[in-house]
């Protein structure tokens, strides 16, 4: 009960303050929250969700999943090979440092402005943190554990499955978390720059046509989307890395 109160008190307070303070707002850019909420209900109808939110989520999922698979696969290959790692690392560091949104104009040249372009944009931005973290995780596999595996004949595919991937998983998950926020950014950006549907596109349309309450409702929807996705990620992580958190807590106490 107290916990629930603590969780909800401040958000409720902030909401009330915003609601009350904006009630009589004459400011064109900051309409009353009441108006925004009404616009939210009117704007994000099931048809709208299907037409604009679903395509966005589809691109996001496809791009993110592809980046994850690609990043982990390449990361394991590079991480397990010392020479390859030394040669590839400066190049990878450079690609990671390039702000991903500048790839949008480049990828538009190669892939046009369709769904393929947006998915490639997301992949090309998300793959680096996953890749570099996987490299780091695979490189740092404990020496004793690695010896143990060899001594007991855990080699080849079994080594990958039972040693390298689980040992690197905390790092991989950290990379995937970074990649998730990059993926959302790139989804929105690529839709803002060139698209005929999608969340980013719709929100910019509202802004350009000065439909301010609708624009605010779009910002809120994007915020909710970011929140929900990060909560989902947290749940998945708690399940996947239960052993890791347990191990850490055990070694701390």
């Amino acid at each position: 009960m107290r916990r629930a109160l603590r969780l909800l008190a401040l958000p409720a307070l902030l909401f009330t303050v915003w609601y009350a303070a904006s009630l009589g707002s004459e400011n064109f850019y900051a309409p009353p929250l009441r108006t925004i909420l009404a616009a939210f209900a009117d704007t994000w109808t099931p048809e709208r969700l299907r037409a604009d939110v679903l395509p966005s989520l589809g691109r996001l999922t496809a791009g993110y999943a592809l980046a994850a698979v690609l990043g982990v696969a390449l990361g394991v290959a590079v991480g397990a090979n010392r020479r390859l790692r030394a040669a590839a690392e400066p190049v990878l560091e450079f690609f990671r440092a390039v702000p991903p949104p500048v790839l949008v104009p480049v990828i538009m040249l190669f892939a046009g402005i369709g769904d393929g372009m947006k998915i490639i944009v997301i992949v090309s931005g998300c793959v680096w943190p996953v890749l570099l973290n996987t490299v780091e995780g695979v490189r740092a596999v404990d020496g004793v554990l690695s010896d143990t595996s060899r001594a007991y004949g855990v080699t080849g595919v079994a080594r990958l499955r039972h040693l390298l991937l689980p040992a690197a998983s905390p790092q991989i998950v950290a990379g995937l978390r970074q990649a998730l926020s990059i993926a959302i950014i790139l989804m929105v950006i690529s839709e803002m720059v060139a698209a005929s549907n999608g969340l980013g596109f719709t929100i910019v349309q509202f802004q350009r046509s000065f439909a301010i309450p609708e624009m605010w409702s779009g910002i809120i929807l994007l915020g909710l989307l970011g929140f929900v996705l990060s909560e989902l990620f947290r749940l998945a992580e708690r399940f996947l890395l239960a052993w890791y958190h347990g191990l850490r807590d055990a070694s701390r106490s």
Binding site: L7, M215, F227
Partner: protein, 250 residues
């Protein structure tokens, strides 16, 4: 070292060869990108753009770090405050900063303010969250020792909380510095605020491909420089920090 350079050299050769062999249409060879880069480096407009980007980056980062550290220490030092704000932080943090683009355009148009809004919003959470982790990491024994010696709250902040949180503050700054550059360039690219991003957009729309690639390389180099600089600063400050702690332990 030779191996490390060979990777880069391989990439440059590949980018030179692919277009020359006609395998990729929309990619100019390395040599032309480098020529374009040299041309750009001779213009004042280019340096003005770099200056604009770095100004937005630095200004935004400073504001975000100041706000994040202050906020983090205040929230972290008061357990009740931490408990009551946790859900709000968890809700606001994952909101993608690009969602604020339309708002920034309406409020500030294509001026520096637009870029700053996005940079500060994105970088602030990185710092705040790290500082909160840092404060949570305070050794309870150290804190109880300080209290048993009747340290004032200020002295506890100064001698217990701050030294523990410092490594986390640096991690936060390092993460924030990288994110700030991404958002600075993004804002310029999408909104058209002055800086490298908008120059890239112009190069793209006018079909000046080598220039566009050259500018993208510049943003990447800036990113690498920022990462290296942040890591260097972190190492210098933290080694100082640890040596001081080791001395105190003696």
């Amino acid at each position: 070292m030779i191996l490390r350079l060979s990777g880069l050299a391989g990439l440059l050769l590949l980018v030179e060869a692919l277009p020359r062999l006609g395998l990729v249409a929309d990619l100019p060879p390395t040599s032309r990108i480098l020529t374009a880069l040299a041309d750009e480096a001779g213009t004042t407009a280019f340096w003005a753009a770099v200056g604009d980007t770095l100004t937005a980056w630095a200004l935004g980062l400073v504001i975000a770090v100041a706000a994040g550290v202050t906020g983090g220490l205040v929230i972290g030092a008061v357990p009740a405050l931490r408990a009551w704000t946790a859900s709000t932080v968890e809700f606001l943090r994952p909101i993608p900063s690009v969602a604020l683009i339309p708002l920034a355009v309406l409020l500030y148009g294509t001026s520096l303010g637009s870029t700053l809004l996005l940079v500060v919003y994105a970088a602030f959470w990185q710092v705040l969250v790290q500082v909160l982790y840092g404060v949570a990491d305070v050794d309870p024994v150290a804190d109880e020792t300080a209290r048993s010696f009747r340290f004032s709250p200020w002295a506890r902040l100064r001698h217990v909380l701050w030294p523990t949180a410092l490594p986390y503050v640096f991690t936060g700054i390092r993460l924030a510095a990288a994110v700030a550059l991404v958002l600075a360039v993004t804002a310029e690219l999408v909104i058209g605020a002055p800086g490298l991003g908008s120059v890239i957009a112009v190069a793209q729309s006018s079909g000046a491909l080598p220039t566009m690639y050259a500018l993208i390389v510049v943003t990447g180099l800036l990113g690498v420089a920022i990462n290296i600089g942040a890591r260097y600063a972190e190492r210098r400050f933290l080694s100082w920090h640890q040596s001081v702690r080791a001395e105190m332990a003696l």
